[in-house]
């Protein structure tokens, strides 16, 4: 059975899985941004926290995804929330690290001039540091999103749905077409996310 005829016969299911996939990635990346960006900002203000927080985020990153899903099942049970939690954990490191790096990379003379003229920390952050770091922060979000699209396929193993459903079904039945039916849209989704965020990144990065 060819891929095209498979899709034409299962278009409703494909769209459903694609939507689940986008949902898993969207919710988890969104949550990781909400947690990670403020945390990255905090690290620029609290140097003592920098090493431990980044080390912890690094450790999470090294846990194999299937194992992490396994660890989380006793906590969240089977389903989308376990997958979303795992995806948040993976997305945090690039977002925290890039937020920190982006702000730390702002020319110290710029910061000193701002502070020296009496700008408050909040004003400096809002008007100077965040705009100047925006490109680097968005690059971190981009990496997190692309990685998430890939890792989310494994969510199907714990009943979270998404395009991984086809892949796992194809592996179980030794059906290459079915594997491709899941893998191809997942890859295209990753490329699309990369392209869109890449454009946003270039827009936001301050032009020299």
């Amino acid at each position: 059975m060819s891929l095209l005829s498979f899709y034409s016969r299962n278009s409703a299911e494909l769209l459903g899985l694609l939507w689940q996939h986008v949902y898993l990635v969207g919710v988890s990346t969104g949550a990781a941004i909400v947690v990670g960006v403020p945390l990255g900002i905090a690290l620029t203000r609290l140097p003592a926290w920098r090493a431990p927080v980044l080390a912890l985020a690094n450790v999470f990153q090294t846990i194999p995804s299937l194992a992490l899903f396994g660890f989380l099942i006793p906590v969240f049970g089977i389903g989308a929330w376990t997958a979303i939690t795992a995806l948040i954990v993976y997305a945090l490191l690039p977002i925290i690290r890039n937020t920190y790096t982006g702000i730390a990379g702002v020319d110290p003379a710029v910061r000193e001039a701002g502070r020296g003229m009496g700008m408050t920390d909040g004003e400096l952050l809002r008007l100077v540091e965040l705009p100047l770091a925006a490109g680097v922060i968005l690059a971190g979000i981009r990496v997190a999103t692309v990685v998430s699209v890939g890792v989310a396929t494994i969510g199907a193993a714990i009943g979270a749905g998404g395009l991984g459903v086809y892949i796992f079904r194809g592996v179980a039945t030794v059906d290459d077409t079915l594997i491709m039916a899941g893998a191809l849209p997942a890859a295209l989704l990753a490329l699309a996310a990369d392209a869109v965020l890449g454009i946003a990144e270039r827009r936001l990065a301050w032009q020299r």
Partner: protein
């Protein structure tokens, strides 16, 4: 004479090893006066400046700017530190914007200040810092520091990174600016010629202490060893003259 800044018994020790960078420094700078803090690298002059604008908290002593403990200051540093994502107009207008001046008043102020520092507003308002020469950048830096009309201007080797010709040009213009503005200024430099040209008084720092405080005339005649060392460095002597 109204004091622009009064510094009393200022001291600063590093938080880590307790090494003292500034000890018992006191002076008053009146409006229309420029105090030049002269000294070698590491003599504590930049630290003194940072204590005045609260980038560092003094371990002892106090700073009163125009009679208050906190007031907005103008601050100019060697690296300039213009905001790279802002145009010249936005850079100069930033502090007034933070103080919520109305837009038309900010625009008028920005134009006035650019003209004051010798930049044609119509040509420079919309430019970004990277489109400026070093000298132009520092002119914008001075304009930005003056924007909210602070009583006191702090300058940390503002002309130190410029080529010699631009430096002399800016020094001359700055001398004219000092007289017109009538502000209090504290100007840090290690260049004794620059200090004698721009200062109404010279404060000589050595190892964190103020070892001399007086007019440029008094400085030239001083027998204080560090002052003598600076004066002889400024004068190359018969050997160098060849």
């Amino acid at each position: 004479m109204t004091a622009a800044v009064e510094v009393r018994g200022l001291a600063y020790a590093l938080p880590g090893d307790g090494r003292t960078l500034v000890q018992n420094v006191s002076f008053t700078v009146g409006l229309g006066e420029t105090l030049v803090l002269l000294g070698r690298s590491g003599s504590g002059k930049t630290t003194t400046l940072k204590l005045i604008n609260r980038l560092l908290e003094p371990t002892a002593g106090e700073v009163l700017v125009a009679g208050e403990r906190t007031a907005a200051l103008g601050y100019v540093i060697q690296e300039v530190g213009l905001f790279p994502h802002f145009t010249v107009a936005q850079n100069v207008g930033l502090v007034p914007r933070l103080e919520r001046w109305p837009a038309d008043r900010i625009a008028a102020r920005v134009g006035e200040l650019l003209a004051l520092v010798g930049l044609d507003p119509s040509a420079f308002l919309a430019r970004y810092p990277h489109q400026l020469s070093g000298g132009q950048r520092q002119r914008v830096g001075v304009a930005r520091a003056l924007a909210a009309d602070p009583p006191l201007l702090l300058l940390d080797e503002p002309f130190g990174a410029l080529d010699p010709i631009t430096r002399v040009e800016l020094q001359r213009e700055f001398r004219g600016l000092e007289r017109r503005l009538g502000k209090g200024m504290v100007f840090v430099t290690h260049d004794v010629r620059e200090g004698l040209l721009l200062g109404t008084r010279i404060g000589l720092m050595q190892q964190g202490r103020l070892v001399f405080l007086g007019t440029p005339e008094e400085f030239r005649g001083s027998t204080e060893p560090e002052a003598v060392a600076f004066m002889s460095a400024a004068d190359p002597g018969p050997m160098a003259r060849g």
